[in-house]
Symmetry: C2
Subunit: 500 residues, 2 copies
Amino acid sequence: MEQHSNILKYKHLGIYTQNEYVVYMREDCHVCISEGFEALTRIRISKQTHTIVASLNIINSDMLLPNQIGLSDAAAKKLNVSEHETLYVSHLEPIESLGHVRAKIYNQKLDYSAYSEIISDIVEGNYSNIHLSAFITACAGDRMEIDEISNLTKAMIASGKQLNWDKEIVVDKHCIGGLPGNRTTPLVVAIVTAFGLTMPKTSSRAITSPAGTADTMEVLTNVTLSLEEIKNVVENEGGCIVWGGTAQLSPADDVLIKIEKALDIDSEGQLIASVLSKKAAAGSTHVVIDIPVGETAKVRSTEMAQKLKSHMETVGHAVGLNVKVVITDGTQPVGRGIGPALEALDILKVLNNDADAPNDLKERALLLAGELLELSGKVESGMGSQIAKQVLESGKAYKKFLSICKAQGRFSLPVLAPYKEEIKAEKAGILKRIDNRKIAKLAKLSGAPQSKSAGILLNVHLGERIEENQLLYTLYAESKGELNYALEYKNNHNDIITIL
Amino acid sequence: MEQHSNILKYKHLGIYTQNEYVVYMREDCHVCISEGFEALTRIRISKQTHTIVASLNIINSDMLLPNQIGLSDAAAKKLNVSEHETLYVSHLEPIESLGHVRAKIYNQKLDYSAYSEIISDIVEGNYSNIHLSAFITACAGDRMEIDEISNLTKAMIASGKQLNWDKEIVVDKHCIGGLPGNRTTPLVVAIVTAFGLTMPKTSSRAITSPAGTADTMEVLTNVTLSLEEIKNVVENEGGCIVWGGTAQLSPADDVLIKIEKALDIDSEGQLIASVLSKKAAAGSTHVVIDIPVGETAKVRSTEMAQKLKSHMETVGHAVGLNVKVVITDGTQPVGRGIGPALEALDILKVLNNDADAPNDLKERALLLAGELLELSGKVESGMGSQIAKQVLESGKAYKKFLSICKAQGRFSLPVLAPYKEEIKAEKAGILKRIDNRKIAKLAKLSGAPQSKSAGILLNVHLGERIEENQLLYTLYAESKGELNYALEYKNNHNDIITIL
């Protein structure tokens, strides 16, 4: 093999492509010519023993010299390469696990070893976005049997780090999204850790919603902690609320989620595997899952929720988790804020037992905290909610929450975005319907979750009597462009809030 | 809206990403900041009334100034933008047709208008590769009903130009690939046009094979003709053999095929829609489809072939085509050459009635030309093959072929690649099996079809008595790297040719 001639010098180009690995070479580069590479060819790039796979973009300008090679930022970081270092370029041997993806596309059932090979290749960065999208799509739409979901979950757990807390009981909770503002997690962590349980909570950022728990918590504290730092916080406080991405727990999930976001889908199999693999890898033993059901929530019918509950519990059992699924009302947003900072404000009000704290958010947090207390066996059946309420109203939960935030690095109060627009009722009547998807879309167009203080402050709830010109909600944005874009969407959709 | 502040100056970067539209902007560019854009955001870019959608890559180096914007070559070409021209950047309104793609992912049946919206957006370049891959995957694996395939086909026909030859009968043929070296098309065109039929043949380049008809013909003549040039050739010669890509016939197909190639799949629905939309858009009325069946061909069983035949004929009828499907033997490669130049040599030998012309290729061409002659109604049933043979052996077909090549711009003789390696039998015995997929893979690794003269020259056929050390085939490559890579694959796979 022509090893010696396949060497190029690295030049930093500074092109950020998110997590996709892209390699840049000149059209007239001797390696491209001798190896017959063309644009989008998948190529192996090595530095000593480190190696990655990247898609080729061909440069036909002087951005590179013919003996130079560039990499997208993620690829350069993965290879830890510095300016002028030499990289070795070679043909990519066929990625065998893509054969399993093709089999899945053609409706074949895959076993553990097939999922394991696919997930390993995904974690290694061996799949292009085209491959990832095909894998996600082939697994969506009820195309995975329940034991396939268990096998995918196991493969995802095994693909990353796995935490061990040396505790008999480690609790966790998760909500199957789709309900704007439903930010109970920080409250539940505060309550159950104040009670004395261990709850090392790793959360995701938003997939298709205006805020994930990690996005909201980042307003209040630091959520990007190393594994060592997480361990310290949990040892001292009994719990944490951090972003799961840096902990290298189920790392395939972080890759898949970005593609699901681009497709705006969140399929059952991937969803179960995503949630339960993160929980198991985080060392949890007892997990409560909240499934809100509503016409415009992620889960639209009680039948779908029951099916998901049954699959969640089955897969949980298969991977060694004690899972309890709670089906809740998902007909309207929870709390008042939609967007990271606005949700953070709601959380602080509930913790502080403020008179104007959103009661719906509080009740949900108490229900879920109560279920967790009961599932742990530390509280008698039927008493969970009541004990959770005592812990919250005593102020112990707030105190614990502040301690956790400080242990994570800081406690900051949320600030509101500089641009806002009040949206008022055009007529009087009864508030009949709030479209969760459209109001979430509106919050996203206003900039959430990238713009932390952007979003919606909701002033009304289902069933209320509304007067003409009454304030329905306030739109917040960090730039005029985003505010205008959200307003344009609002003006084109008159069914976000229905008053009859 | 902040129109005036969303203006940037174009700078040519010279980055070729194939057909994906990528836009490059600085991290600290005022538009990114004010609009909240981040990497991979899909963005609308406009120049006066022209507009495209592109994925954002963020530049954090001095490759661009903060007020500059770069585009991938395909995007720059589509917008026809020159250095220093101003471009206007805006948020992308939601692509509505992606809702149909999601519906398809969730197993819903789509109607004509849904496929039509999807295909229009694909032709406009509004889908990222992630979206395209999801659409292809969602339609694969028998997930399309027959009327959906008809609707997809109609949508693809309507999405591009449609030719009209002002002839009552316009014939065409197509082979459902998978059989290396099965290059009958140029022969069939030569025969039936020499007979007097009209056959304006537009072919594709290889999807997953070592050569498509367009790749092979490009060795012999120019295949990239404008619509006007194609019309002239057909008017003067009665036929042509050109690449269909520039003719803007069913343009969505060209986009989808690149993604199918990356996935290495070719699903039934897309395959039927691809083939028949090209034929209908090219103005054909009577079409013969060749489906080779064999264990390692694209279609593996007679049952699958019968199903495909039935679906092809049904969809053909739905889109107004007279389709006849011929099921042929697909157990081994046809002719001797595999790869563009080597296949072109076979074609010339058959046309020239050379003593060592590959007889299997000749017989197949006569069969298919005969079917076309009969389907056209110009030749009595049962007589087609015999008349085709007369036209070929008289030398009229060769003469016509040369005329067509010259009318298309040139006639060039094929040249062989500079690097070669003879592969000999390791033992004596009977040749029991040739793996079409593996021998195609070998030809691809040697560089075909990008390297026109790369590929395989096959010396043996199924059932032959082989002596030890007898030449089985010769590998040809245009670079040592490619030859070595092919040899490495050959050494790791001892079941490419099985002698027992």
